[in-house]
């Protein structure tokens, strides 16, 4: 798993709003809007740059949603790859400072 032991954090160039279980994220660089479904929103909320992704998948997706661990990992991989490509999420090898 490419991101399993990585740390993910929200970019500083975004604005976001949680509405129910959906999150709208906007890049303040180019005003692109992203809509996050409930599982993606759970990862987004937990993306503090200090918690390894494997723990987020285990605690936020596998436990809170009715999906298999395999599916949770696959969803997280896909979500992070996409948002990282847009610069909305930043992936680190080590936990970032507060």
């Amino acid at each position: 798993m490419a991101y399993s032991e990585k740390y993910v954090a929200k970019s500083t160039t975004i604005a976001s709003r949680l509405l129910g279980d959906e999150t709208i994220v906007m890049s303040t660089v180019d005003s692109t809007l992203f809509s996050l479904n409930p599982t993606a929103s759970a990862i987004w909320e937990a993306a503090d740059g200090k918690t390894p992704l494997s723990r987020i998948v285990q605690e936020k997706l596998y436990v809170e949603f009715d999906i298999t661990l395999e599916q949770a990992r696959a969803d997280a991989e896909e979500f992070i790859a996409e948002l990282a490509a847009h610069g909305i999420l930043v992936v680190y090898d080590r936990p970032i400072a507060q």
Binding site: A15, R17, L19, E22, I24, M26, T28, S31, L33
Partner: protein, 270 residues
């Protein structure tokens, strides 16, 4: 015999959304052009909050195909398009506009200035027509060809039109007001310089039948953001506009209005 060529400074004040902005020019013919263009928004004798010196230059001095660019440089806003160059210092509240003697360039500079002011006060300019009925304002938003001007043209006689192009959304306390603007679309006429609390926003879609369906907040935010007029390359202000739209949607209902273009659509409004 020596002759002094004395140029008289003319000040006119244009008030939009309750914000009076002074324009200074030495050309009396240009004053007449502006008075005709801004009619109801021209406020003689009002103390301005901001002012611009307008320097008239021959047409075609700049790249005519250049798109609007707005950015902050050394504490000054710079605004450029194919037909104007403008600067504006938020500290001193003064600016300059270089353009030819036409009313459209200054119209665009004023739009940009108001988007910058609104961004810091919880409001925004929306690509929408709007009108006041029974003391309540209704906004009709959509991209070009969505029907903004059509809805305005179909408005019954008890509706006072605020604009058919760019609606001014201003936050006052916990309330949102729609203010009239001189920013005209296909109607080619300025709106009335009045304001009223916003009762609803309708996102327009032409259809065989009329219906208004309330939108979920997330979808409303996504759709409204597409129609917000904002020009500046400034991440902080873009963030503020996004937050303003989110707060607005939490207060004001947003509907998708499917409409057949005849007067019956107004039976659903107000």
């Amino acid at each position: 015999m020596l002759r002094a060529n004395v140029e008289t400074d003319h000040q006119i004040v244009i008030e939009i959304g309750g914000v009076p902005i002074a324009l200074h020019t030495t050309d009396p013919a240009f004053v007449e052009i502006l008075q005709a263009r801004f009619s109801d928004f021209f406020k003689a004798g009002m103390t301005p909050e901001f002012s611009f010196d307008v320097q008239l230059v021959p047409p075609g001095m700049f790249d005519p195909d250049a798109d609007a660019e707005v950015w902050l440089e050394n504490g000054q806003w710079r605004m450029e398009r194919g037909d104007f160059r403008a600067t504006w210092d938020p500290e001193t509240r003064r600016g300059t506009i270089r353009q030819s003697a036409n009313p459209y360039s200054i119209d665009s500079v004023l739009r940009i200035c108001h988007t910058l002011l609104l961004a810091r006060s919880g409001g925004f300019l929306l690509h929408a027509s709007s009108g006041v009925r029974n003391g309540k304002a209704f906004l009709f938003s959509g991209l070009s060809e969505a029907g903004k001007t059509t809805i305005a043209r179909l408005a019954p006689s008890d509706v006072e039109l605020l604009t058919d192009e760019a609606s001014y959304v201003r936050k006052v306390g916990l309330q949102y007001l729609a203010c009239g603007t001189p920013f005209a679309g296909e109607l080619g006429a300025p709106g009335k310089n009045i304001s009223a609390p916003i009762d609803a926003v309708y996102l327009l879609a032409k259809a065989p039948q009329n219906s208004a369906v309330r939108m979920e907040p997330a979808e409303a935010i996504r759709r409204l953001m597409r129609n917000v007029l904002f020009f500046a390359h400034d991440a902080e202000l873009v963030r503020l506009v996004f937050e303003s739209v989110c707060a607005f949607v939490a207060t004001v209902p947003v509907y998708e209005l499917s409409f057949f273009p005849d007067q019956r659509v107004w039976e659903l409004i107000g």
